[in-house]
Symmetry: C2
Subunit: 212 residues, 2 copies
Amino acid sequence: MSDADSARHHPRATAEPQAGAAAAGGTATETTGPLTHIASALRRERQRAGMSLTELARRAGVAKSTLSQLESAAGNPSVETLWALSVALDVPFALLVQPARPQVQLVRAGEGPRFAADRADYLATVLSTCPPNARRDLYLITAEPGPARESDPHMPGVVEHVVLSAGRALVGPSDDPAELAPGDYIAYPGDLPHVFEALDPGTTAVLVSEHT
Amino acid sequence: MSDADSARHHPRATAEPQAGAAAAGGTATETTGPLTHIASALRRERQRAGMSLTELARRAGVAKSTLSQLESAAGNPSVETLWALSVALDVPFALLVQPARPQVQLVRAGEGPRFAADRADYLATVLSTCPPNARRDLYLITAEPGPARESDPHMPGVVEHVVLSAGRALVGPSDDPAELAPGDYIAYPGDLPHVFEALDPGTTAVLVSEHT
DNA sequence: GTGATGTGTTCGTCAAGGCGAACACTTGGA
DNA sequence: TCCAAGTGTTCGCCTTGACGAACACATCAC
């Protein structure tokens, strides 16, 4: 994540250091505020779920009037309110808040920034670092047989997904790894010690690291 | 996503239809409320960024007092406030709100629910459906050469990532697909028409569908 | 037609969020 | 030692979010 400053977490961050007072007052100009997105997202998800305004309000335990104002982009809901709505809609909270920005991106097998490997027989290529909203990285792993590669646990809340492409490998929590064949998949908490040990030469895998 | 109702979007959803009134009142028992998580997440991320309470407040344009109360789990911030903080911290909004729940999960190459394929020469196996917070699915694609498989565009905001494991394939937006070799990676907006056309027999790939 | 149920909207009221200022408290020069 | 500059905390005050009730409107049964 170090040299991926080009892709930051917010589409058009506007953290003006000095002009913060503007955001403090009630009449902020609100550059890319989440409120308009919330309004449309709420209406869209509610209709997708086939709920009436009244019913959603009842299920979420919020006033019908509040919900109406929110869908009109009037007002700035509290987290609890929006949380209740996301639960009632059975929709991830983030979906109600975050704008998105997709793009086409291509990385050839050889290309892409290699991850500094402490050993020559293990190579991780970064395919995609966390975009605006999600916190997940995509790696291509290439490894040769040898002693098990112990990874130090990452930040709490990290989940790693591994799909084996070729060869065989011992992957998973250090205390109970699984032997994967091509096509096999495993997911495990990344904040616990875990291993990736190639058993066959030319072993490759796709690794998704989810930062929650 | 149809038959994956086991994994829902919220850790312990408590959308009681009738008892919604409880959540409405101020003194709700607050089962898995995001407020306590926000408090700890805010403090953690702020310290990780090496910021003082005063500095973060200044950058985000929120009152120092407000921030202090939030980190003490006192109060229920508005979305705008929390948004400003997430921008100032350069951290995805969701990270401040969502609890997480990692687990070990293993799917063997043959196992896992197959995705209903409209053609015999294209098989998608679900490896992992969207967990509590993220909205992304993991598929293993197995395809044989044949006419291009056109996918109808999905919901807006969807991004698909493809890493080719074996064989060769033409993947990407319909108007400009890329020929992938093993190890190649491509990402593209899923809300536009796109193709997956195997060029070699036994072509396999890993597909990450991000619902943003 | 007319009442009954549904939709989503707009009112007035009250509690709570967010604000600046004043407050204890530790640190490091002079 | 004392003052200055930093930390994070607690105060009144005003603004505003969230509420319930009343509202206008469409639909359907009788």
